[in-house]
Amino acid sequence: MSVKKHTISVLVANQFGVLARVSGMFSARGYNISSLCVGETEDPTVSRMTVTVHGDDNVLAQIIQQLNKLVDVIRVEDLTNRSFVERELVMIRVSADHKRRSEVLEIAEIFRGKIVDLDKNTMTVEVTGAHGKVKAFLEMMRSFGIIETVRTGEIAISRAANTAESRDDEA
């Protein structure tokens, strides 16, 4: 069975210790989390966790069933085989003196990024996008010399008209 990336959306009660219980389930059963994002939903008593993991279908089925057993978990959805939009925000600081600024700016524009900070020797760029886009952008920035990278991890939302054809892969 093939190992692939899965994006799981978990609605949980927004209360003390929930993150520990969910992440603890993953570590106790030996599943690796690639990224995990938590935030409040439209209902302040409910949080949404977006977890990306790598595994085959059996591992994913186990993860979902084990999550479903946690008392604080309201609902679990594997978005992977559905149509959804995923985004990650990355902020990256690169070396760029006045001679190289325009180059950075040009690449940032192609990736629809924004310059959020600037000094004599560095530029900080913010880019939002799906995993592939963020990866491509980081690759492009490498040649300038990356000083610092900050990433949020991925969040995802399923599409309202949920058909496989409308699957979004790029921003």
Binding site: F16, G17, G24, A28, K69, I74
Partner: protein
């Protein structure tokens, strides 16, 4: 039903402390015994027990104080295992709480409903490394079914009520409630009815509980079963927890399907029944394991194909169509793919199947004949010639006296496996053993809990010299509370099961397990702890009268029998190996002779 409010009581709205509220909820839940140990951070609630019992002298809540909090946890577990009711344990913060981590994990592993109430340091000092502070929430998160830290005292009563609902619902398990000392001292109006709303969880467990099996699912089941020529039931602890004994026995009888049970499933069916093939697995009956190898249809009921049963999952029941009933969806297909499954309560599922299959005719007479022949040919046996007392002989003799009616608790190791093999059980919940966790030291405190829950019954703790040492302080608890547990110590001067593995897999290097030179006098220890009956038997001729006197004795009794250290548990299926490689040892008839050396385990399996 989870999420359903309790009935409003007369005490509703009465102003009282958090500690008094805790006692009130426990009383409303019908708790008759608390197992626990006091200490700084739980003092207010222990004071509330004292005051509650003074005010309710007609119906006090019994408080049983162990030697160590671990003992209290296992007593609560023994209470819960033998009754199906929630066992309650109450300890202080820090070391009190961490000492219960083992029994809480043990309860989780065997799906036992227990509620543990821990005192915690006051809210203002949580996280400051205060005296006797431990991170109970994170620690127990990894061990228990659920944990609450009560930060808002107005939710205290609802939280405790909810803990009972969680412990018993779905796949049962232990729930921990951490209560800061200042929450125990807080005063407010008592809420006698609220429960917490657990959205998601309560809908999941309530809908599973209320459903009946769809007709199509039952039809599919019988389509598969009708094709079978060699059907077999594989019954786990889930059948007992679900209370499915009646339905299971009816199902087995109606369709004339033989049954094997797991270690945890012992007692779900009467072990003396013609169709019962006893325990399967690593130390299961040879005929049970042969039947599993032979069967072409296997219905698992509340069993989970764990590694002591299906060490080599692909080769386990390799010729069989597999059907699986379990209340935990995560167990379906976890270890082995299944051809048919149903997620739900075992009792309901079996009742629905029996109803749907009334008209179904099965024809597998030759299989029943084959099974009977297997049972006759490959029965348990041991060295009956030796002059040294064999542990199996002791249990066989005791079983002839107790006749399947006694509650048997055990420690963990060889004596546990011998007990599983040689005792009969007519009823469920009479076999009290630490199955999944395999916790040494479980037997004595679990027996105390079971005896307190079943005052009229004969409760025997069969223990080993290694296991009993772990919680030997609870001998005194037995005597203090006059709990008439019978403690049978099979002393082979070592950690027998580990010795057995070291003999088979480590060329006889007995690292850390030989206790021949240990000097403990167990009989003197029992006497010192207040046992009026404390004897030692070293010779066969004294065994029978000693056993008779031992079980007849009114009050706690201790009997040490010095047994052969060379008696190994057979059959044995090595770790990670299929049943065809089972060793039947020198005294059980095997299908073919195997040399131990051919079967040395080369994998990393435990």
């Amino acid at each position: 039903m989870v999420g359903t409010k309790a009935k409003r009581s007369q005490t509703h709205g009465t102003v009282m402390t958090g500690a008094d509220m805790t006692l009130q909820v426990l009383a409303d839940e019908g708790v008759d015994t608390i197992f626990g140990y006091s200490g700084g951070a739980i003092l207010p609630t222990y004071d509330a027990i004292f005051r509650y019992n003074k005010n309710h002298s007609g119906k006090p809540i019994k408080l049983v104080v162990p030697a160590n909090e671990q003992g209290a946890g296992f007593m609560a577990a023994g209470y819960a295992r033998s009754t199906g009711k929630v066992g309650v344990c109450m300890v202080t913060s820090g070391p009190g709480a961490t000492n219960t981590a083992t029994p809480i994990r043990d309860c989780m592993a065997d799906s036992i409903p227990v509620v543990l109430i821990c005192g915690q340091v006051a809210r203002a000092v949580i996280g400051t490394d205060a005296f006797q502070e431990a991170p109970v929430f994170s620690l127990m998160s990894a061990c228990a079914k659920h944990v609450f830290l009560v930060k808002d005292p107005t939710t205290l009563a609802a939280t405790i009520r909810t803990a009972f609902q969680i412990a018993l619902s779905g796949r049962p398990g232990p729930v921990v409630i951490d209560i800061p000392k200042d929450v125990q001292n807080w005063e407010g109006p008592y809420d006698s009815e609220s429960v917490l709303q657990l959205h998601g969880y309560q809908e999941r467990v309530n809908s599973t509980r209320n459903q009946t099996m769809p007709a199509e699912t039952a039809r599919e089941f019988f389509k598969l079963l009708k094709r079978a020529r060699k059907p077999l039931l594989y019954v786990g602890g889930g059948a007992i927890i679900s209370g499915a004994t009646k339905e299971l026995r009816a199902f087995m009888k109606h369709f004339q399907i033989p049954a094997v049970t797991t270690l945890m499933g012992i007692g779900a069916i009467d072990t003396s029944d013609d169709l019962c093939l006893h325990m399967l697995g690593m130390h299961g009956a040879a005929y049970a394991n042969y039947a599993v190898d032979e069967c072409d249809f296997l219905l698992a009921v509340g069993a989970r194909f764990d590694d002591r049963v299906a060490g080599a999952p692909r080769l386990f029941a390799a010729n069989a169509v597999i059907a699986h009933i379990d209340i935990d969806a995560a167990e379906i297909g976890k270890v082995k793919p299944v051809n048919w499954h149903y997620v739900g309560d075992a009792a309901t599922a079996l009742r629905d199947l029996l109803e749907a299959g009334k008209a179904v005719e099965l024809n597998h007479q030759p299989w029943l004949k084959e099974v009977r022949a297997l049972k006759k040919m490959h029965h348990f046996d041991f060295n009956r010639e030796s002059e040294v007392i064999q542990p199996q002989a002791v249990l066989e003799m005791l079983n002839a006296m107790t006749k399947g009616e006694a509650i048997i608790a055990t420690g963990v190791g060889q004596h546990q496996m011998f007990s599983a093999q040689y005792f009969d059980f007519k009823h469920p919940r009479n076999w009290i053993t630490s199955g999944s966790m395999g916790t040494m030291g479980f037997g004595l405190p679990a027996a105390i809990g079971a005896q307190i829950a079943n005052p009229g019954k004969l409760v025997i703790d069969v223990d080993g010299d290694g296991s009993i040492r772990m919680n030997i302080g609870e001998l005194e608890t037995c005597a203090n509370y006059k709990v008439p547990v019978k403690v049978l110590l099979l002393n082979n001067h070592g950690d027998g099961m580990v010795v057995q593995w070291q003999s088979l897999y480590y060329e006889g290097r007995f690292s850390g397990t030989d206790k021949t030179l240990h000097s403990k006098d167990f009989v003197k220890a029992a006497e010192a702890d207040g046992f009026k009956f404390a004897r030692r038997v070293t010779d066969y001729k004294d065994l029978k009268p000693a056993l008779e006197a031992f079980i007849k004795f009114k009050g706690p009794a201790f009997l040490e029998v010095v047994t052969d250290k060379h008696a190994f548990v057979y059959p044995m299926v090595g770790p990670g190996l299929p049943y065809k490689d089972m060793l039947t040892g020198p005294f059980i008839e095997g299908r073919e002779h195997k040399h131990t050396s051919e079967l040395l385990d080369t994998s990393d399996s435990i």
